[in-house]
Amino acid sequence: MEVKVERQIRTGLNGDEAVAYAAYHADVDVIAAYPITPQTIIVERLSEFVHDGLLDAEFIPVESEHSALSAVVGAAASGVRTFTATASQGLALMYEILYIASSLRLPIVMALADRALSALINIHCSHDDAYAARDSGWIEFFAENVQEAYDLVIAAFRVAEDKNISFPAIVNLDGFILSHSIEPLYIYEGQDVVREFLPRREPIVKLDPDKPITIGALALQNYYIELKRAQAEAFEATPPYIRKILREYSEFSGRKYDFIKKYMIDDADIGFLVLGSTAGTMRHVVRKWREKGRKVGLISLTLYRPFPVDDFRDAVKGLKKLVIMDRSYSFGSPYAQLYMDVAATLYDEPEKPDLINVIYGLGGRDFNEYTAEEMWEKINRPGVKKIWVGVRGD
C-alpha cells in the first residue's frame, strides 16, 4: 500500500463533520444514533449523506441512546458495518449495552464527543464518559485534533473488524474543543480510496438463516467465568494486531499513528501525560518551557484501551517525575482514573518516576498556557500529590 496523499483533499472541517465524513468514506452500512450535544453535527451530516444518496446506508433515527446501541448490536450481529455516536448522558444511558456489545464481539465503531456527566448539566468537555467505558471491553482511541478524529474512525473500523480482534471500538474527540472547531485536515477523495484500506466486513459470527446460531444465551455459575476468561484472553491478545493495522494505516495515509506519542521525552526530567486535545496545548507549552530551560517532555495516548503497557513503561524510563493530567475525577478513589491506570502499570517497575495527579478542564474549563504555568508552579511545591488547576479558590 503506497502513500496516497495525492488522493486526498485538503479542507477545513470541524471534528464532528470529520467523523461523519470518516463513517461515510468507510461506507458504513447501518447507523443508529440519537442526537446529543456536542455530537449532533455527526448525526446531522450523516443523515444528509444518506438522504442525498451519497452514502448507501440505513440511518435509523432511534428514540434514545439505549436503542441506538441496541439497534447497532442487532445490525452488527447480522454481519454489516455499523456506526453510532454519543456523549456523556447518552453513553451513560447505553451503558449496559456496552458490555453486551463487547462480550458478543461485535465490531461496532462509536464516536464519543467527550462531554461532562451531569449534575449540574454541562455540555462541554470532560473525559467522564470516555473513562466510564474503560472497563467494558471496548477498544478506546483518543484523537488530539480533527485530522486524528477522521483518521482514527477509519482505522477503528479496520481494527474492530479484524478477525483476530473483533471487539467494538470508541474514538474519543473532545466535546466542542474538537467537535465544533474547524481545523484544516486531509480527507480522502471518496469511498473508493478508503476501500483499498478497508474492504467489506467479514464477520466471525452472524445471524444467518442458513447457519442458525444462538447469540446471548443465559450463562449460570457453571459457565459465566469461563466465557469471561475467554473474552479477557482475546482482548489482551489484541495489541499486536492493533499495532499492525495502525502501521498499515500510517503508510496508507502518510500520517504516523501508533499507540502513544512522545514529544521531547527522551532527555526530560519531568513528563506530562495527557489525553485528547490538551496534548496539542501541552506540546506548545513544552516547547516554550524548554526554551526557559525546564527539562520537560510530553506523552499522549492514542490508544487508551487496551492500555499500552509496554510502550508506556518504555516511554517513562528516565523520568524523575510524571505529571498525570486527568480531565475527570473519580470520587472516593485515591486518585483520578488515568493516574490509577498509570500507577498500576508502573507499580512493579524497578525504577519509576514520582507521580503527581493534576485535575483540569472539567466541564470545558479552558486549559491554556496560563493554566499550564499555574500547574508548573503547583507541581514543584514539595510533597504535592494531587492538585486541581484552573479552579477559582484553589
Binding site: 466471525i204 459470527v205 467465568i225 469461563e226 475467554a230
Partner: protein, 95 residues
C-alpha cells in the same frame, strides 16, 4: 444431567451456541410426577394434544396419529385435559 463442562479454551467465540436445538440431549421426562397414557383405539387424530403439548413430547406420525415421547414429557396433563375423546389418562409415575 451429564454435561461435560468445557474449559474456557474450548468455548466457541463470541459466547455463541452453535448447535441449534441441542436441548434434545436434556431428559426433562425426569420432572414428571404423573405420566400420560394413550389409548390409541380412542384417538381420532384431531392433533389437539400435539398442538398443545408444551414440551414437544407428543410426536405426530405420518397418518396424524400420535405417540407420546416419555423422554421429554413433564407430565403437565394438558393433553389428557384437552383430549375430546379422553383417550389420554394421567396415572401416577412409577406405579
Amino acid at each position: 444431567m451429564a454435561d461435560d463442562l468445557k474449559t474456557w479454551r474450548e468455548l466457541p467465540v463470541a459466547m455463541i451456541v452453535d448447535q441449534p436445538g441441542n436441548t434434545v440431549e436434556v431428559e426433562t421426562g425426569t420432572w414428571r410426577a404423573l405420566r400420560p397414557v394413550l389409548d390409541p383405539s380412542k384417538c381420532i387424530k384431531c392433533l389437539i394434544c400435539w398442538v398443545y403439548c408444551p414440551d414437544l413430547a407428543i410426536e405426530r406420525l405420518e397418518d396424524d396419529s400420535v405417540k407420546i415421547n416419555y423422554y421429554y414429557c413433564k407430565g403437565c396433563g394438558i393433553c389428557a385435559e384437552e383430549c375430546p375423546t379422553k383417550a389420554i389418562q394421567m396415572v401416577e409415575e412409577g406405579v
